[in-house]
C-alpha cells in the first residue's frame, strides 16, 4: 500500500511550484511511509475500523468521463446562486462551474493551485504550519498529495455580504480513487466571514476516498462561521482534518453536518491562542444502514479568559455507528477558562450504537469545565403528547427526531445558511416544513 502511494507520489506533476512546496509534500510522504495507516490498536482509531482504507492505496482521481454541466452541479450544490462559489470536481478546481465575482479590495478567493502559482507569499506562512503532516497519518498523506483546494484570503476589516461556498464534488466514475483537497482560509483582523464547505458525491454507489485538510486562521477580533456539510456517496470514505488557529478576541463558530459516506471521520482542532477568544463547535450527524460517523474534536485552551462551547448530536438508525471524542486541554496559563461540552445521541434502532468519550485535561485551577453525554431512544412522553394532538405515531417520531436535530441547527447564526441546512436535514428525515 505504501509503495503504491509512493509511486503515485513520484508521478505527481511538477510544474510551476514554489520551492518550499515539494519539501512539504516530501515530508508528508515520508511521514506516511513511517506511520502507515492507523490501526485499530491506535487509541485514536479504536472505534473506527478503516477496512479497505487501511489496506489499499487509492489511485489518483481523474477528470470526469463526461464534463459536468452547471445544471448538474446546481442539483448537488448548497445555498443560493448569488453566493460566491468555488467548485471542485474530483479534487480539481472547475472555474467554468464556479462563481467568483470580485468581493472587495484584496480579497482572494481562488484555487490553491492558482494561489501557489500567483501569490505563494500569501500561502507559505500558513500552509502545513497549522495542520502539519504529523497530526495524523491522513494529514501526512494529504500533505504528500497537495495539488488543489480552496484558498481564501480575507484582508483586515473585510465584511463579506454572502457566505462563500466551497463545493467538492466527486463523480460516479471515481470508485477506487482518492482526492486530497487542501484548503487554506486566512481571515484578517476584524473581518466577518461565513464559510460553507460542502462535500458531495454525485451518486450513492461510488466507493471513492476523500482525504481533506482545511486550515483556518482567524485574525484578532475576527468573526467566522464555518459550516461543514458532508454528503458523500453512501459507499465512499471521508476523512478530514480541520485545524483552526485563533488570535485574540476572535470568535469562531463551526457547524458540522455529517450525513453521507460509509465511513467518515472528522477531526476538528481549534487552538485558543490568545486571551478573550471564543470557539463554539456544533455538530449534527445523521446515519443509517451500516454507516459509521466519527467526530473527534480537540480544543486547546492556551491562554486565560477564553470560552469554548461544544454541542455535538447524532441520530443513528439501523445498524449505524457513531463515535465521538471530545478533548479539552487547558494549560496552566489558561485561568478563567470557561469550557462546556455536550454530546447527545438519539438511537432510532436497537442495533445502532455509539462510542462517546470526553477527554478533559485541565492544568489550571481557576476554571469552569463541564462535560456531559447522553445516549437514548425517543422518550415515550413527548411521543404520547404529540400523538394526543392528532399526529400519527410514525409522523410523531419523525417530528421528534427532527426536533432533536433542530435544536442544534438553531445555533447557526447566518439565516440563509441555517435555512438551507434545515432543508437538507428535513429532506433526510422526511419532514416537509421547518420548525
Amino acid at each position: 500500500m505504501i509503495e503504491a502511494y509512493r509511486s503515485a507520489f513520484a508521478a505527481l506533476p511538477g510544474g510551476k511550484l514554489p520551492p518550499w512546496l515539494p519539501a512539504l509534500r516530501a515530508s508528508g510522504m515520508s511521514r506516511f511511509a513511517t506511520t502507515g495507516p492507523p490501526s485499530s490498536r491506535d487509541e485514536e482509531w479504536r472505534f473506527t475500523p478503516l477496512g479497505e482504507l487501511g489496506r489499499k492505496a487509492y489511485a489518483a482521481a481523474t477528470a470526469p468521463e463526461r464534463p459536468l454541466t452547471r445544471t448538474a452541479v446546481e442539483g448537488q450544490s448548497f445555498g443560493h446562486p448569488e453566493w460566491p462559489a468555488l467548485v471542485f470536481v474530483n479534487g480539481r478546481f472547475a472555474p467554468e462551474l464556479s462563481t467568483v465575482a470580485p468581493l472587495g479590495d484584496g480579497v482572494v478567493t481562488s484555487s490553491l493551485a492558482e494561489a501557489l502559482a500567483r501569490t505563494p507569499a500569501l500561502v507559505e506562512p500558513h500552509l502545513g504550519r497549522h495542520a502539519g503532516p504529523d497530526a495524523t497519518p491522513f494529514t501526512a498523506l494529504n500533505a504528500a498529495f497537495i495539488q488543489d483546494g480552496a484558498f481564501l484570503h480575507i484582508p483586515d476589516g473585510t465584511v463579506l455580504a454572502h457566505p462563500v461556498l466551497l463545493l467538492f464534488l466527486t463523480t460516479s466514475d471515481q470508485g477506487g480513487r482518492a482526492t486530497h483537497p487542501r484548503n487554506l482560509i486566512v481571515i484578517g483582523a476584524d473581518a466577518r466571514v461565513s464559510l460553507v464547505e460542502s462535500y458531495r458525491g454525485m451518486d450513492d454507489a461510488a466507493a471513492y476516498f476523500t482525504n481533506a485538510v482545511t486550515e483556518v486562521v482567524v485574525g484578532p477580533r475576527a468573526w467566522a462561521e464555518h459550516t461543514r456539510i458532508q454528503r458523500e456517496s453512501g459507499a465512499a470514505s471521508h476523512i478530514a482534518f480541520s485545524d483552526v488557529s485563533q488570535a485574540a478576541q476572535s470568535h469562531y463558530r463551526s457547524f458540522t453536518l455529517a450525513m453521507g459516506a460509509a465511513l467518515s471521520r472528522h477531526n476538528l482542532h481549534t487552538r485558543l491562542g490568545a486571551p478573550g477568544t471564543e470557539a463554539l463547535l456544533y455538530g449534527l450527524s445523521i446515519a443509517h444502514r451500516e454507516q459509521l460517523v466519527d467526530n473527534h474534536t480537540a480544543i486547546d485552551h492556551l491562554q486565560p479568559d477564553c470560552r469554548s462551547w461544544e454541542v455535538y448530536k447524532a441520530i443513528l438508525d439501523d445498524r449505524a455507528r457513531g463515535v465521538f471524542n471530545g478533548k479539552v486541554y487547558v494549560t496552566p496559563e489558561a485561568q478563567k477558562t470557561d469550557a462546556k461540552q455536550t454530546n447527545r445521541t438519539l438511537l432510532l434502532s436497537e442495533a445502532a450504537r455509539v462510542d462517546t468519550k470526553p477527554q478533559l485535561e485541565i492544568f489550571a485551577d481557576d476554571v469552569k469545565c463541564t462535560h456531559g453525554a447522553t445516549v437514548g431512544y425517543l422518550d415515550e412522553l413527548p411521543l404520547f403528547y404529540t400523538r394526543s394532538r392528532g399526529v400519527p405515531a410514525d409522523r410523531a417520531k419523525r417530528l421528534l427526531t427532527y426536533a432533536f436535530a433542530a435544536e442544534v441547527l438553531a445555533e447557526v447564526t447566518v439565516d440563509a445558511v441555517r435555512e438551507e441546512l434545515d432543508k437538507v436535514v428535513r429532506e433526510r428525515l422526511g419532514i416537509r416544513e421547518g420548525a
Binding site: 415515550e380 394532538r389 392528532g390 421528534l400
Partner: protein, 251 residues
C-alpha cells in the same frame, strides 16, 4: 357523547380505577373532583390513551365508537382533547409548527384539505389573542422553558386551535394565579356549545366559580362516591373531602 362503563385500569400492576361509570352528553360541563390519589388524573389519561396505564375491565365509547380500541391520535382526530396536568416540553419545534402539524393531521383524518399556511397564521394569531398572549409565543419551542402557568395557558391555546368535541382538562387550574385562572376559564367558556362537552378534573372548587358545571362527580379510591349538581362542589369546599371519603387529607 362519552359513555364510561365500569372502567378499571392499572399502572405498574396497581389498580387505580376500580369501576368508573360516567355519561357526558353534548353541551354539558362535568367536573370530576377528588383528593390526591383518588384516580381522577388517571381517568383523564386513560381516556386519552396514555401508554402508562392498562385497562383491565369495563369500557368507554366516544361518539359511539369504542374509545379504548383507538390509538391516541385517532382519539384526537375524532375530537377528544386532553389538557395535560404536566404539559411536555419539546425543544426544537415551535408552537406554530407543532399546532399546524396537529391541525392538519386532524383535518386530513376527516377528509378535509390542509389549511393554507397563511390562513393558519391568521387563525393562530386570533387564538393567541384570545388567551391574552403576544405573537412571540408562536415562535417559542413547545413548552420549552415555559413557567408552570405558561404551560397551562399553552394547553388552552392548543385546545382553542384544535376545537375538540370533548375537552378534558386535567388539573389545568393547579398552580395558577387568579389572572391566569380567568384566562383558562375564558378559553374554556368560549368553547362551550351545544355540540361540545367539557370534563374538568380538579382538586379545588375555585375554577368552577368561572366555569359553572352541569354535573359534579366526586372520586375516591378509584370510584365515584357521589354525583350531583353544581352545589355539590360548594358543599365539598365547605366540608372537605373527608366528608365523603372518610379519610382526612394531609395538605
Amino acid at each position: 357523547m362519552l359513555e364510561v362503563n365500569s372502567l378499571r385500569a392499572t399502572a405498574d400492576d396497581k389498580e387505580i380505577l376500580k369501576g368508573i361509570s360516567l355519561s357526558v352528553n353534548a353541551g354539558e360541563v362535568h367536573a370530576i373532583m377528588g383528593p390526591n390519589g383518588s384516580g381522577k388524573s388517571t381517568l383523564a389519561q386513560v381516556l386519552a390513551g396514555h401508554p402508562a396505564f392498562v385497562v383491565t375491565g369495563g369500557g368507554a365509547t366516544f361518539m359511539g365508537q369504542d374509545l379504548l380500541d383507538m390509538e391516541p391520535e385517532e382519539r384526537a382526530q375524532a375530537g377528544l382533547f386532553l389538557a395535560f396536568q404536566y404539559p411536555v416540553e419539546i425543544p426544537g419545534v415551535s408552537n406554530a409548527y407543532f399546532l399546524r402539524a396537529a391541525y392538519n393531521e386532524i383535518r386530513k383524518a376527516r377528509g378535509e384539505p390542509e389549511i393554507d399556511p397563511m390562513d393558519f397564521i391568521d387563525l393562530l394569531e386570533e387564538k393567541v389573542r384570545m388567551v391574552h398572549w403576544g405573537p412571540e409565543i408562536m415562535k417559542r419551542a413547545v413548552n420549552h422553558g415555559f413557567s408552570g402557568g405558561e404551560k397551562k395557558r399553552n394547553e388552552i391555546l392548543q385546545m382553542a386551535v384544535l376545537e375538540p368535541r370533548l375537552a378534558i382538562l386535567d388539573e389545568t387550574d393547579s398552580g395558577l394565579d387568579i389572572d391566569a385562572l380567568k384566562v383558562v376559564a375564558e378559553g374554556v367558556n368560549s368553547l362551550r356549545s351545544p355540540e361540545r362537552a367539557i370534563v374538568i378534573v380538579t382538586h379545588y372548587q375555585r375554577l368552577l366559580n368561572y366555569i359553572v358545571p352541569d354535573r359534579v362527580h366526586v372520586l375516591a379510591d378509584g370510584q365515584i362516591v357521589r354525583s350531583g349538581g353544581k352545589e355539590l362542589a360548594l358543599e365539598l369546599e365547605a366540608k372537605g373531602y373527608e366528608w365523603l371519603t372518610g379519610v382526612a387529607e394531609v395538605a
